[in-house]
Symmetry: C2
Subunit: 219 residues, 2 copies
DNA sequence: CGTCCCTTGTGAAACCATTCACAATCAACC
DNA sequence: GGTTGATTGTGAATGGTTTCACAAGGGACG
């Protein structure tokens, strides 16, 4: 299989969402054009992305919605239950815990940690907030696959180091810092400050940010 | 001035954060190398990024921390107060409202909207949740610069269309869909589902996602 | 004030993702 | 079963970002 770029993987998620909707409304087949329109990209891009993993379409017809949905779920590793732990029971942590829309895709929060003793012991929807001190032990016991880091910026790298040492290979970081992990650990960062400041830049500078192919500031 | 790419603007935010920290600990000068290390990129990248906006460093010495901090704040448009509105008072909306770490950079939430009449009228930290029906009028009255969209996926495009028609030029979207806006509107999307599914892909496929220059899955 | 060492700024090269363009293929219909 | 119209899959072209590599410049110190 060819190399798969990060942007491609991101788009697969978007395709999957669109396909799921289409499937629910009973559509049997989509063209790359329609799929692209709904996912916010181009038909050529859709075909390129999918062709990396195999040939799923029929020329002259398009892609079979249900089969492609299944295929993408398999490719993205969504066929299983992912065990997630949340480190940091502050505002962001609580919000993520409350949201949990991602349960539908198989991401289940199985443990919550905080270093504030006042929060430890609180019961969140049947789950007891655990002490930071138990982190390593509990990650192993609960067989956690993915850790969500929702601690203050200063504490984030420390948490990540411990979590990595405990064997976790997937990290989703909400702290507004660049974190360092070994090459065999997957790290994704959601940095709201960066997003807001990009908006600020765009607004302050007359939206002069260059986008690929002059598609200006669309997404 | 040359064209400024999206990734470059994002990195400026990161540089700014690092510089602020350095300034607070009394450091007077940084090399591109040190700045790069702390921001998670390369020295050459730092120099290229900064050189777009001018020459701020001294050869043989490095960059003056305080002066560069000010310069970046100016470039990013952080010298003023940005008036932000939050549309959607659900879990995510509430979390963002509670977080508000970004106040420090001048982003102030001045209004909250929801279409659920049960939420309308609630007082959030001195701010009354307003009805969705007032949206257009209130955006103009409050001179809102940036709207944060925190509504369900199905409702997001509708909200965006109204907000754009009301003259808002900056949108930060948390709904898990690709949104369409005219070229003169800046849109940034934070899609947690995509991030989680990218992690899932990486974990399920032995971290085989190609990153630029084989830097594998670091960030 | 000359030499040395360090670090910037930047043109050129390398690299990678996206877009183009078209041959190959399939269903449908007569 | 041939013809038509549509759409995929993909090699080549394009365009943009990152990295390289080095000349230019500046401070420090003798």
């Amino acid at each position: 299989m060819k190399k798969v770029s990060e942007p491609t993987v991101g788009r697969l998620s978007l395709y999957l969402r669109v396909l799921t909707e289409l499937g629910e409304s009973g559509v049997g087949t989509v063209s790359s054009e329609e799929l692209a329109r709904r996912a916010g990209t181009t038909a050529a891009q859709v075909r390129k992305d999918l062709s990396i993993f195999g040939t799923f379409g029929k020329r002259g017809l398009g892609y079979p919605v249900d089969a492609l949905t299944e295929e993408l779920r398999r490719i993205l590793g969504l066929g299983r239950r992912w065990r997630v732990a949340l480190v940091g029971a502050g505002r962001i942590g609580r919000a993520l815990f409350g949201y949990q829309d991602f349960r539908r895709q198989g991401f289940y929060i199985e443990a919550v940690f905080d270093r504030d003793e006042a929060k430890v012991g609180q019961e969140w929807n049947g789950l007891v907030v655990r002490s930071d001190a138990e982190l390593e032990k509990a990650l192993a016991e609960e067989e956690i696959d993915i850790v969500i880091v929702a601690v203050p910026a200063e504490a984030a790298q420390g948490v990540v180091d411990r979590v990595v040492r405990a064997g976790v290979r997937g990290i989703l970081n909400f702290a507004p810092v660049k974190l360092h992990v070994p090459p065999d650990v997957a790290l994704k960062t959601v940095n709201m400050a960066v997003e807001l400041e990009s908006l600020s830049y765009a607004l302050a500078n007359g939206l002069a940010v260059s986008r690929r192919r002059g598609r200006a500031n669309r997404e």
